[in-house]
């Protein structure tokens, strides 16, 4: 038996989670193929009515204050068969008047009810499949965007930690699922200092990643000019401001470490204040400044601290301090400060220690809300060994606690010692030595370079003299190497120049070079290889005399 109605209709649509579905019906038209979709408001009482009715409903005499009911009547719907699956109304079969103009019979209704019972689960399955397809597509779009953002971000984060003898650097970046705009960077500046950057873009996803990428590039370019942190942040702010979208800005901390003397100069564009631990005290490193990208022409306060042996600094982003536990308590700055004070470097490095504490605080199943970035800078306890020449043979320069300040070569032409002198003076400027010590070093470098060019390399311009300048906590070392190998006769050194002998023509007027060198520096080491000859000049930086004693 067939039910001859003018048309069918359709299904309530399920939308995502929270929203109530806005059901719709497809109303019958004059021909079966023509349908009109009618929406049923979520609060329409007819939904509850259909949900609890058993079987086909004749709507002609139904008394409900329902816009959908009016719409169905207007569309000539006569009989409605609710499709209910697992207690949930998922659709309606709407029938117009029978084509025979007769009323629907009991058999018709039984058939329709039977049909509805079998159709409802199938429709439900179809709905779920459709819903899953839509959700999969949406998730794929989001995942694709996250992949792009994450790729941008991780491509730009440092691949390795810089190695500075006497210093330990640590970095940890843990992106939240949504990928925030955290970034950090290490800039090995040409003058031997280390720039440290920690920043956070206020937004997530691809837009934040792009702003982070451009800020990082601009900052790198500005920092390479060796300007102070405050000047660099001011310049970066002016450069990025036109390109940062409204409602987005960047907080950023920029510090420059002098690894030789532990001076840390820093400026801050609205970023969380780093913590400096000295002994058992932990203090914030304050410097005022607006976040980057808000408005041009900003000035950034600049401050300095000195990191003594054993001191450490933690740079971080707000993902750590603003992490919440299940009781909605915040990790907080105070807790972080206390943990740093309690932490003993001998037990575990600071980063894993803090992550462990964070895990203890949040408990299992914690969903990370924001990126977490931690950058640590720790100065070793031990005092570096002086006397760099002793390491010449094993060449383990990276283990000796010394830093290469500069290395260069010059052609062996008379007069070029002035180049060596100037470049060494430039390289040691960061050590802030007393001017008279710098003058002595310059004289010693010039004399040693002259000897290398003349006696070692025979003034052959194509044979270079190599100059290397190292510094450690305890000593400054300048190595000057020629290609002459061991000098054939060291006898010249034995004869100490004597002004009276010279005036009496018992010595040549010249021959002052080595004598000057010996009196300008604290230590003089000479090493020869098969093809090279190196004079190493050492100035002690702590505890030694300053070379003033001419005895």
């Amino acid at each position: 038996m067939a039910v001859q109605g003018r048309n069918w209709s359709s299904f309530l649509r399920r939308r995502k989670r929270v929203e109530r579905p806005a059901p719709s019906i497809i109303a019958p038209q004059s021909r079966p193929a023509d349908t009109t979709e009618l929406q049923i408001a979520p609060d329409d009482p007819i939904i509850a009515y259909f949900q609890h009715s058993s079987g086909a409903v004749d709507i002609e005499h139904l008394k409900l204050d329902s816009p959908a009911l009016e719409a169905m009547r207007a569309a000539s719907v006569r009989l409605v068969v609710p499709l209910v699956s697992q207690g949930e109304l998922i659709g309606l079969l709407n029938l117009g008047p029978r084509l025979s103009q007769q009323e629907y019979s009991t058999d018709d209704r039984a058939l329709l009810n039977n049909l509805a019972t079998q159709t409802a689960p199938a429709v439900r399955v179809a709905q779920l499949v459709r819903q899953k397809q839509v959700e999969d597509q949406a998730r794929e779009r989001i995942d694709q965007e996250l992949r792009v953002a994450r790729h941008i971000q991780q491509t730009l984060l440092p691949k390795r930690l810089p190695q500075f003898p006497g210093w330990q650097l640590g970095a940890h970046y843990q992106p939240a699922r949504a990928v925030g705009g955290d970034f950090y960077d290490f800039l090995e500046l040409s003058d031997g200092r280390l720039g440290l950057v920690v920043g956070d873009v206020t937004d997530k996803g691809v837009p934040a990643a792009l702003v982070m990428a451009s800020t990082r590039s601009v900052l790198r370019a500005a920092a390479s000019r060796l300007e102070s942190p405050g000047v660099v942040l001011g310049r970066v702010n002016d450069l990025v401001h036109p390109d940062v979208p409204p409602n987005m800005f960047i907080t950023c901390m920029y510090a420059i470490l002098n690894p030789v003397n532990g001076n840390l100069v820093y400026a801050n564009a609205g970023h969380d204040l780093p913590f400096h631990r000295h002994g058992s005290s932990v203090v914030e490193l304050h410097a005022r400044g607006m976040p980057l990208g808000l408005m041009p022409g900003m000035e950034y306060e600049e401050n300095m601290t000195v990191l003594a042996p054993g001191d450490g600094v933690l740079f971080y982003s707000d993902g750590l301090v603003e992490a919440h536990n299940s009781r909605r308590q915040m990790f907080s700055f105070g807790r972080l400060q206390r943990l740093i004070a309690e932490h003993k470097e001998t037990d575990a490095p600071l980063v894993p220690y803090l992550l462990h504490e964070l895990e203890r605080f949040t408990g299992p199943g914690w969903e990370q809300e924001d990126d977490i970035t931690l950058v640590t800078l720790q100065r070793s306890e031990e005092v570096m060994a002086a006397g760099l020449a002793r390491h010449e043979h094993d060449d383990k320069t990276s283990d000796t606690g010394r830093v290469l300040l500069t290395q260069f070569t010059i052609p062996s032409e008379a007069g070029n010692e002035r180049i060596a002198m100037r470049q060494v003076a430039d390289a040691v400027r960061q050590l802030e030595l007393p001017p008279e010590r710098v003058e002595k070093l310059k004289t010693a470098v010039a004399e040693a370079t002259m000897n290398a060019m003349e006696h070692g390399n025979k003034f052959q311009p194509e044979v270079p003299v190599t100059v290397r300048v190292y510094a450690s906590h305890a000593a400054l070392s300048v190595g000057i190497t020629d290609q002459g190998g061991a000098p054939p006769d060291m006898g010249a050194r034995a004869q100490k120049p004597d002004i009276e002998a010279k005036l009496a023509n018992l010595q040549t007027a010249r021959g002052w070079g080595l004598f000057l060198i010996e009196n300008m520096v604290d230590e003089l080491h000479v090493t020869s290889g098969e093809h090279t000859h190196t004079v190493e000049l050492v100035l002690k930086l702590t505890g030694g005399n300053d070379g003033d004693d001419p005895a």
Partner: protein, 118 residues
């Protein structure tokens, strides 16, 4: 770089005194210029030579050797050599080399001139 980065000019504030102003670098490149300046400063029979180092930028061991050579010549001709205007660093080097024992050293030219007989 391979040329004299120095200018030497000679003045004679008094008939008995020749002043040589040294500006720039006193290195091996300055040898001929320094010996010429010495001759010029003593042409008129001046027996005192004052080397004014206020404009000295750099002196190396070769420059010190030149001063020793000059000193030997001056001694031979019974002339007196004085120096003024040296920076602290080069005063220290004069002391180290004991050049200060053979060359009278003064902070300023006026002090050197005042120390010489009219």
């Amino acid at each position: 770089m391979n040329q004299a980065q120095v200018t030497l000019s000679v003045r004679q504030p008094r008939p008995t005194v020749g002043v040589i102003d040294v500006r720039g670098d006193l290195t091996a490149f300055a040898e001929d210029l320094l010996m010429d300046a010495y001759k010029e400063a003593t042409t008129n029979g001046a027996r005192n030579i004052v080397l004014n180092f206020e404009g000295l930028e750099y002196m190396n061991s070769s420059g010190i050797g030149l001063l020793v050579t000059l000193l030997i010549r001056a001694n031979r001709h019974k002339q007196k050599l004085l120096a003024c205007g040296l920076s602290d660093h080069y005063v220290r080097i004069f002391e180290l080399t004991r050049l200060n024992e053979a060359i009278g050293m003064y902070a300023r030219e006026s002090y050197a001139l005042a120390a010489l007989p009219e």
